[in-house]
Every structure is written in structure tokens, then in C-alpha cells.
Amino acid sequence: MLDSSIKVESAAIVLLGSFNPKIFHPAWLASENMVTKQESESAEISVVHPEVTAFTMNKIQYEITRDRFVIQTTYSPSFNVMKDLVLGMFGLLHYTPVHALGLNREFHFLLESEDAWHRLGHKVAPKDIWEGILEKPGTRKLIVEGVRSDGREGCVRIEFAPSARIHPGLFFAINDHFQLASKNAASGCQEMLDLVRHEWGASIERSKAAAFKFLERT
């Protein structure tokens, strides 16, 4: 399987905790020198509100609510920029309580034919058991969860589905989930920052390798 079979890919950093959405504004990022003034001025703002902030800036999407922070991009040269933004923002807001971290990846692979697409669906979710129950059963979505192999608390969850963006295509998503040690507000987000700093590069490579390994086996 070649890199060229990836037609869309994305990476996201998702935090669960307690956030103040209104503070996450392009102008704030520019004032702290995390983005340029020009980038800040070209941001497409959907909403900035005490309950929710959402905007796109320089190919990166931001969505922040009171309990969830999401930063995401489909543009691979921005993957590390996104990591730096999280380190920068939460380095400044280091008292922000964060109790879970997701380093997430999604891929849309173009398969060689519709036959291959059907074969893949049958192999991953055999249809014999549905005989006499459903007519022409098809795999809509499959989610498989495993424990973390690094001994940290959390899990790795993989979602497999037909791609809605390309046909015949496969959607493969990996949620590399870290449950952080403490939920108390006083601890801030230092543990999350350390994880993002040290695990981000390895996580995105691991997720890509997992997707390719899965495709090779099927």
C-alpha cells in the first residue's frame, strides 16, 4: 500500500477538561506571537462566544467548548505546527485543568476496485451470522478498542468504515487516548503538555503504521 492511496488524512489533538472558549481567538494567538498578524487577519471565524469558539486559520480548525478543546488539520505540513500551537497556548494557560488527551488520526484510502472494497468489508465483519436476518448485510462501522501498550492509562480505539469522501474507499480512524492521572483542577495541564511534547511525533507515526499494517493484512 502506497502513500498515494491516502486521499485524505487528518490529525487532531483533543483535550477534555475545563476551558474558557472566549479566550481562544485568532487575535490572542497573534498577540502571543504563535501565529502571524496576517494569519490572524485571514482567519475564518464561525463563532466566538463564552460557550463556544470555532474558527479556521491557516488550514487548521479550532473548536472549543467549555469541556472540550479540538484542534485539527488535514494538511500534513501543519501537523507539527498544530502541536506547537497546543504547547504554546497551554504553556500560557498552564493552570487549565485537563483530564484526558486524544491524539487522533484519520485516513481515507482509495481502494483498487469495488470488489476489493466488498472483500475488505466481508473480511473484517463476516456476514454469515446475518444470513436469514438481514438482506444484503453491509458493514456500516466497526469500532475496536485495545489497551495501551505503553502502560499508560487510556486506550487505543480504531474505527473502520466505508469512506464517505471517496469511492471505493476505506475510512480508518485512530483515537490514541490518554487518561490523565488527576482530575483535580489544581494540577493544571502539565501532564498533558509533557505527553504532547514527547508523544505526538511517535503517535502520528504509530497510527499511520497501524493503518498500513491493517490494510496489508486485509
Binding site: 488539520t73 500534513s76 484526558a100 448485510p137 462501522k141 466505508p162
Partner: protein, 201 residues
């Protein structure tokens, strides 16, 4: 099926949200639905947006795009119309197929060029030393070109939403906010500890 309790305990803890939408393997239905047709709302303003009423059930894990989720019919409850309903963020369609990807550190800066050490992020080759003309760097990033500065260099095919492919070489300098007092104190403490461990005065 797994009986292991998930770390994600409640719907509010479901922090992974897939961007993929409904399709169907093994059926004769064409997977032609677009994101616009089937995308879920990205944002709700609590108390303002319509609430979904979930009938009593034992397995509340709704799947996107379905009209019938684990035996529960989703119904719109009577509520006040939203005062604000933000437009959803547009789907991201930019794609970059990397051919080479490096992380670089600036070693030395001269009048029209700077020398660097490059680490191959795809691990295809060992570290290399390279010199770049300053004009390769975007005007807005030039003030960041100092010894020790970190940058990312990607070569590959950039595709926009129309599918137009451009061979591109992108240099992006790392931007981090200025060091905080706390970080400087921590660094001093670490340095002092290291000095003690090494037995230096």
C-alpha cells in the same frame, strides 16, 4: 464485544468525533453522499439549541447518520428556537502528499543564507547539513531565523479542494510564545541540579 469498562464513561467524555460520514460496504448503494449532505452539526449552544429526547434504553450509543440508533428514535423536543446557531466550519479539503519531510535547526545565519542541520522525519536518511538562501523563507518568518531556531521543511504534492496538484517546498518556522517566568525558573533549577550532580561549583 468487550466487557471492559471504557475510559470514556459518559457521552460528554466521547471526545473522539469522527469526520467520516455514512457509507455502506457490501451493498449496492453508491457511497455518493457528500459531507455536506450528511454532516452532523458541529456545535450546539447549550440551552439554546433544540434538545434531543432519548427514550429509555439500555445502550445509548448513537451512530451518526442513522435514523434509528440502537432501538431509540431520536425526537426533537419542543424547545425555544436557538437564538444563535453558528454556521458549521467548512470541511477541510486540503491535502499534502509528502515526499520528504525534515525538522531543521538553524546553525548559523549569514547575510543572504543560513546553514542548518536537518533530521529526516520520515527516517529515510541520516541527519544532513544544508544551507538555504534566506529568500526561501516567508517574509513573515524571516525575523525568526536565528541560531537555534527550529523549522519544518516539507517537500511534496499539495492539493487544494479542486484537486489541483502543485509540487511544493514549504518551510515553516516554529513559533512559541516567549518563555514564562516559571519556565525560566524551572530551567535555572534544572541547571543548578545538574551542576550539583556533576560536582561542579
Amino acid at each position: 464485544m468487550t466487557s471492559r469498562s471504557s475510559a470514556l464513561e459518559s457521552p460528554s467524555d466521547m471526545f473522539y468525533q469522527s469526520s467520516n460520514e455514512a457509507g455502506l460496504f457490501d451493498s449496492e448503494l453508491p457511497a455518493s453522499s457528500t459531507l455536506e449532505e450528511t454532516r452532523r452539526p458541529l456545535l450546539y449552544l447549550e440551552k439554546l439549541a433544540p434538545k434531543y429526547k432519548l427514550p429509555v434504553g439500555t445502550n445509548n450509543s448513537p451512530s451518526p447518520g442513522a435514523t434509528y440508533d440502537n432501538g431509540m428514535v431520536l425526537e426533537l423536543q419542543d424547545s425555544a428556537p436557538p437564538l444563535v446557531f453558528p454556521k458549521p466550519l467548512p470541511p477541510q479539503l486540503d491535502h499534502f502528499q509528502p515526499l520528504q519531510s525534515w525538522e531543521g535547526v538553524v546553525n548559523n545565519v549569514e547575510e543572504h543564507a543560513f546553514s542548518t542541520t536537518l533530521r529526516d522525519r520520515l527516517k529515510k536518511s541520516p541527519d544532513q547539513v544544508a544551507e538555504f538562501p534566506l529568500e526561501e523563507v516567508s517574509l513573515v518568518d524571516r525575523e525568526l531565523v536565528h541560531p537555534g531556531a527550529i523549522f519544518y521543511w516539507d517537500i511534496g504534492y499539495s492539493e487544494d479542494k479542486t484537486g489541483q496538484r502543485i509540487r511544493a517546498s514549504l518551510i515553516k518556522f516554529r513559533r512559541l510564545p516567549a518563555w514564562t517566568t516559571r519556565e525560566i525558573e524551572n530551567a535555572k533549577r534544572d541547571a543548578s541540579k545538574m551542576r550539583e550532580n556533576l560536582g561542579w561549583e
